[in-house]
Structure formats: C-alpha cells, structure tokens
C-alpha cells in the first residue's frame, strides 16, 4: 500500500478500493445483531466494554469540578465493587486536559490517559494554524490521546490531499507523546463508500485509531458504519501488518448496544482487536448501564439506578 500524498496519487488509490454495497452491509449487521450473548460471555463482555469506555464530557458547561468527578468515576467506576476495571480514557475539551491529568494522577489513575478533542472540534472549521495550536496546547498539557476531526468539507469536495496532509501534520505534533485518533464524522460523510475512503485516508496518513463521530452529529456510530471501519482496519492489517484501532462514539447508550459492538469487532476485525489498545467506545451514559448490568449478573436482580453514581 504505497501511496504518496499528492492529490492525484491519493485519488487514484482511493478509486482502487472495492465499493461497499449498503444493502449487503445492512443485512450482515442485522444478522450479527441477533447474536445472543449470555452468562459467562456476557460477564466477560461487560468488563471488557467497561475497560474500553472513553468516558467523555464535552459540554460548554464543563467545569473543573465536573471533570474531577468524571476522573474519579473513571478510576473506580463502582466504588462498592473494586473488581470493576477502570475505563480506557477520559475524554475532555482542550482546556480541561491539565485538570483531568492532575485529578487522575492524584487518585491512582496514572494509567488512564486523557484524550483531548482537537482541531477545532467538532466542526473542524478553522485555519490550520489554529488547529495546530489547539493540538499543541493539549499535548503540552499532558494529553496522551488526541481526537482530531477531519476536514469534511475538503473530503466532500474531493480535496483528499488536504485531508491527508492535515492528519499527517497533526500526527507530527502528537509525536511520541500522544496517540492520534482521527474522527471521520461519518454522519456527515453519509455513504459507506465515503466511510471506507476516509478510513483509508486516515490510516495512510498515520492515524493510530479511526473514530466514527464527534457525538455532535446524528447518526453517529451505527452498526453499518462501524462494520465498514472494522473491515478497513482488518484489510489494512492484512497488507501492512499494522493494526489500527477503531472507536465508535455517539449513540451507544446501553449494554446491549455495547455488546453488539463487541460482536462486530470479534467477527469482522477479529478477536485481536478486543483490547482497549485497539477498540474504544466513546460514551458517557453507557458506563452506568454497564455497571447496572454487572450488578444484575452478580446479585441476580436489577438494582435501582440510584445505586450507580451520576458522574
């Protein structure tokens, strides 16, 4: 998969990708959604899903207090049961990175990275100078992961070179300090053919993860979109021997949805991807439902939502 960053070379390469038949993908994901995950496999899936959650707050109203509370939840999702694993990462806006980093370090969460959304998230509509500075600030403040957005306008108008170059430059800013997750915002790309093309652009440009959505656009992490992205990382691995991660974000609110995501990972990309280093779920409400289901499996009955913490 040798390709240089010139516009014409990228265009030519993307044309060689097989097209995606949406009807076929919808049928396959509908079948996979009927997988029935019970007992021991459900328990395993719940704990695995918890360890993959990028616990997220991306609100204008975010405060240091809110972020610290979120960090506490990230380290010990269920204070009454210390066998619950901690989450994959804490995901915040740029200006909250140092607050989150400090909070995590203080309460035994040194192993949990802080992910910062970047490059004029969520729309990506700013000059590259601003995007670069946005990223640099986050890395300097201790972000271990950068969740950048691609320039959907450039992609949709066919300026693939611009999209590619921007990702490369942001990757350079991340350097060794931060992993790069590239958000495709599939709800704005609309077609599955676009999802496949954008996935390849991001992987070729140096993404460590490809991520579906900002969570600010609907639809977000639909099963067909995640399916096509998982195929992309699987095929990219088969030609380069490099494993790229996948992060669905947005719309995954309950345990059933999360387990369906894990089934997709297992049967499309393969079991090697079932680790937080290669699969994350961007979510906020999901964690509490996972905890409630975990309690149900342990105790045999459903607890009131009052038994899980709000943060």
């Amino acid at each position: 998969m040798i390709v240089d960053s010139s516009e014409s070379s990228l265009k030519a390469f993307l044309k060689t990708l097989p097209t995606v038949d949406e009807v076929g993908v919808n049928a396959r994901t509908a079948t996979l959604a009927t997988r029935s995950i019970k007992t021991t496999s459900k328990a395993w899936a719940i704990d695995t899903a918890i360890s993959m959650v990028d616990l997220t707050t991306l609100e204008g109203a975010d405060t240091p207090g809110k972020v610290r509370a979120l960090c506490a939840k990230a380290v010990r999702p269920d204070a009454t049961d210390l066998t619950v694993p901690s989450v994959g990462a804490v995901c915040v806006y740029n200006d909250m990175v140092s607050t989150a980093r400090t909070a995590l370090d203080e309460i035994g969460g040194k192993h949990i990275p802080v992910a910062a959304v970047s490059t004029a998230f969520p729309s990506g509509r700013a000059s590259f100078k601003v995007k670069a500075q946005d990223t640099q600030d986050a890395v300097d403040a201790g972000a271990g992961e950068i969740d950048m957005v691609i320039d959907r306008g450039a992609f949709l108008s066919g300026r693939y070179g611009e999209v590619f170059e921007e990702i490369q430059k942001i990757k350079a800013i991340c350097g060794e300090k931060a992993h790069l997750k590239v958000i495709l915002e599939t709800g704005e790309l609309v077609t599955l053919d676009n999802v496949r093309k954008a996935s390849y652009l991001a992987m070729l440009a140096g993404a460590d993860f490809i991520k579906t959505s900002t969570g600010k656009v609907s639809p977000a992490a639909t099963a067909p979109v995640v399916y096509v992205m998982l195929e992309a990382v699987r095929d990219y691995f088969s030609s380069t021997k490099v494993r790229i991660g996948v992060k669905p974000a947005g719309g995954i609110r309950n345990t059933k949805d999360a387990i369906k995501q894990l089934v997709l990972v297992n049967e499309v990309a393969g079991p090697e991807w079932l680790t937080p280093t290669l699969f994350r779920i961007g979510a906020s409400a999901l964690l509490n439902d996972l905890l409630l289901q975990r309690m149900k499996m342990r105790d045999g009955y459903y607890a009131s939502p009052s038994y899980v913490t709000l943060d």
Partner: protein, 480 residues
C-alpha cells in the same frame, strides 16, 4: 475467559409437545394408517428418534383423495371466494401466533439453525398465506382469462429442506385458487406438516380441504398415480421429477415440478467484494446448502480470484457450526445419514478428480450428521462437483476471464433454477441477467424470497413457477 467465546444460548424446546406417534390427517381427523405401520423420524443433530409417523399406503391415499374430492365438490368450490380468503388469513394469523413453536419443531426435525427457522422459514410461511389470502377473490386477474377455474384435487409432494416453507408454497396458492389438497411431507421431516394439520383444525377449515398423508416414496407414488387427482405439484430431485413426468404422461393430470439446480454465482471484478463474499456464504451455506437454488458454483473473475478466496476463507472461519437450537449457530446438521453419505461421495469425487479441498476449521459434534463448510478450488466444468447437485455445504470454485465466458460457463449445465450476478455496474447486471438461462436471477444478493416473486426453473430444473401471479395461475384452468 481470555477471548470472546459465546456461551451456549439455547432456544427452549418446552414450547413443543411432540407426541410419541403421529397419525395421518384425513378428512379433518387424525386417523391410523391402514397398514398399522409407523416409521421413526429423527433429530439429525443428535441421531435420536423424535417420534413415530404413520406410513400411509395406497388405501390411505384413496381415503384422502376421496375426502379431498368430497370437500371440493360439496364445500370448497361452492364457497364464496372471499370466504376462502378468510380461512387463509386465519391460518396465516395462527401461524404467526404459533411461530416460535413451528420454528423450534422445524429445527428439531430438520436440523436447520433456529436463527433461520425463526427469522426466515416461518415468517415466509406466514407471508405466503397472507399473500395468497388476498388473491382468493381476485382470481380473474391471475392471467388465465376472465373466469378461471380450479383443477379440483391437487396432489402435492414436498421435500425435507424447507418443510414448512414448501408446504406453504404448495398449499396456500392451491387453496386460494379453490382446489383441495392431498399433501405428502418428506419422510425425514413430517412433524411440522402434522402440526400444520392442527392449525387447520384450529382455523376451522372445512374437513377434507387439506389432507396430510405421511410416508416415503411409495406413498408419493400412490398420490402421483391415483386417478382421482387432477394435478400434481412436486418439489424435489430431478430424478424423481422425471419419474413423475413419465407417470402422468397420457393422463389428464398436469404438473408443476420444482427440481434440482447447480446455480452459478458470478462475481465480476467490479463487484463490492466484501458483500459479494457475504453473498457467496449466504448462497451456499444457508440451510447447510440444502437449497435447490443454492449458489453452488462460484464463478469468479480470474483477476480477483485470490482476493475473493482469501476473504472467503477468513469469513468461513467465522461460521459457527453446532447445535441448531443455539441462537448463535450459523450452520446446523445435515438432514439425514443418506444425505451425508451422498455429500461425502461427491466430495470424495472432487478429491479424486484433482480439485483442492478446503474446509472451515470447525469442531464437528460427535453425535448426529454433520459436514463442515467446504470449498473446492481448481474446479473445471468437467468435474462431477461442477455438474451434479451436491445439496450440501460444498462450494465449487471456477474462474472466468471475460463476461461472455462467465455466461457460457454459467449456462453450461442441464439445470437452470437460479443464478447470482455481482457487479456495481448496472448495465453489466442487466446484460448478464438477460443472457442467463435460469428462472431466478439475483443481482448483488442471493437466496432472497418473497411470496410475490415467481420461483422456478429452466431446463431440467422444472416446469412452471411458484409464487406471485405465475405461481397462482398454475393452480387455475383458463376460462374465456
């Protein structure tokens, strides 16, 4: 647990109550066979006997035909058409209400995965009855003139691969058109047909309109040769189809025959390859490949052969073979010991003729009848596995260089039931569809069924169509 292994998720069998033995269903009642003989029906996933079923002989068929004739003359042909429709609607609704029961019983008796009996077979069965219920009072639009007439008493013989679905394909149009029926289910899968007899009682269907006579080949022969039968509808092997055609030659009987197939599934290099791979899997491994229209000959353009095969093997390694009652099972048991030995015989011929065998790495249960999903590469047109119907989860892979060659190879078979075409180029699909000599052609999909869509074969794959207006008209004689 270190990997994501799916724990067993078994569908409960408590919903079905299988009697120790089953009688014949004649004239609205369950009656003992004249011979007093019963034969076992087994669960192919375990090899254990599920129940015993009456062995109907000529005398039983005689009674069934007389009951059907009586019901036709006295009740069914006199009834206003809209009333006939109401019975069919009622049957359709009961089938939906009892869908889980039918799905579980079908899986137990046939060996197919519960996911398929639950999500495909039984919903389609109900759909067929709903569709034909609507036709009952609109027969003047069936395309056989302004005053179409039913044939009278129809003898119907169905196979074991889709026991309930084939029953629906046969009984629903026959009743909608105003005929009465004597139906023989396959000897290895009679139980859902007998449960359907209960549904007929529950729906209050007049006695004798539907009669179910169980048995093996001799029972079928008694139906075919009975002088009181006006029309034969058969689904099964081409071999038996030819016997039926011979038997009815020179009689007043007409027949529709749905016979074997050796469908080509053609993958052009401009196809959406990942979905084409799904289509290959669905085409040949759906229902363990026990499908007359299965895409059993893969014709793949040579320049994408390696890529398609690599993707196909990765995908096949994910197929879950095992207990058909497990909701996560993708491929169930081979229906019978006889079928398993036929599959083994033909695949052995594939080996000895020089094709290369590859089977998905799945664990085969110790009891029951099983065959792993298997592909043969390096197959040429002369190989037996490229010509004969295997009727199992076995795919023969052939290549072609140009679209013309694909069509020539696809048509180079005595069969002509179905075909698949995979391309993202609309003009190529339309061109290929017009060249292929097959009754059903799927474009960028495979094994999709709908009651409104006619199904049937060219050449040795059969006579006539089932489903849609064409299928309905096969149960009607033209008026003026």
């Amino acid at each position: 647990m270190s990997a994501f292994e799916y724990a067993p998720a078994l569908e409960s069998t408590s919903i079905v109550n299988i009697a120790e033995s089953h009688k014949l269903f004649i004239n609205g009642k369950f009656v003992a066979p004249k011979s007093g003989k019963y034969f076992p029906t087994i669960n192919p996933a375990t090899g254990k006997v599920l129940s015993k079923v009456a062995d109907g002989n000529e005398k039983d068929v005689d009674l069934a035909v007389a009951a059907a004739r009586n019901a036709y003359v006295k009740v069914w042909s006199k009834m206003p058409a809209a009333e006939r429709g109401k019975y069919l609607y009622r049957i359709a609704r009961i089938l939906q209400e009892r869908a889980r029961e039918f799905a579980v019983l079908e899986t137990l008796d046939n060996g197919k995965p519960i996911r398929e009996s639950r999500d495909t077979d039984i919903p389609l069965v109900a759909a067929h009855f709903f569709y034909h219920a609507g036709w009952a009072d609109k027969l003047q639009y069936a395309g056989v003139g302004t005053s179409p007439k039913p044939y009278g008493v129809v003898g119907q013989i169905i196979p074991w691969n889709f026991p309930m679905l084939m029953l629906a394909w046969k009984i629903a149009p026959a009743l909608a058109a105003g005929n009465t029926v004597v139906l023989k289910p396959a000897e290895t899968t009679p139980l859902t047909a007998l449960l359907f007899a209960e549904v007929c009682q529950q729906a209050g269907l007049p006695d004798g309109v539907v009669n179910i006579v169980t048995g093996a080949g001799a029972t079928g022969s008694a139906i075919v040769n009975h002088p009181g039968i006006d029309k034969i509808a058969f689904t099964g092997s081409t071999e038996v189809g030819k016997l039926i055609a011979t038997a009815i030659a020179g009689t007043k009987k007409v027949a529709t025959l749905e016979l074997g197939g050796k469908a080509a599934n053609i993958i052009f290099d401009d196809a959406a390859l990942d979905e084409a791979v799904e289509g290959i899997v669905n085409g040949i491994f759906f229902n363990q490949g026990h499908v007359c229209c299965a895409g059993s000959r893969l014709l793949v353009q040579e320049n994408v052969h390696d890529e398609v095969l690599e993707k196909l093997k990765v995908r096949m390694a994910n197929i879950r073979l095992g207990n058909p009652l497990d909701k996560n099972t993708d491929i169930g048991a081979i229906n019978s010991a006889a079928q398993l030995s036929k599959i083994k015989e033909l695949t052995a011929a594939g080996d000895s003729e020089g094709a290369e065998r590859w089977s998905a790495p799945c664990q085969i249960p110790t009891e029951g009848y099983w065959f792993p999903p298997t592909i043969f590469t390096g197959v040429s047109q002369t190989h037996r596995i490229a010509r004969e119907e295997i009727f199992g989860p076995v795919l023969s892979v052939l290549t072609f260089r140009t679209p013309q060659e694909a069509i020539e190879k696809a048509n180079n078979t005595p069969f002509g039931l179905s075909a698949g075409v995979w391309s993202e180029k609309g003009s190529k699909i339309l061109w290929a569809a017009s060249q292929l000599r097959a009754g059903v052609i799927w474009a960028n999909t495979f094994n999709k069924f709908d009651p409104a869509s006619p199904f049937g074969g060219y050449k040795e794959s059969g006579w006539g169509r089932e489903g849609g207006r064409d299928g309905l008209s096969a149960y009607l004689k033209g008026g003026n």
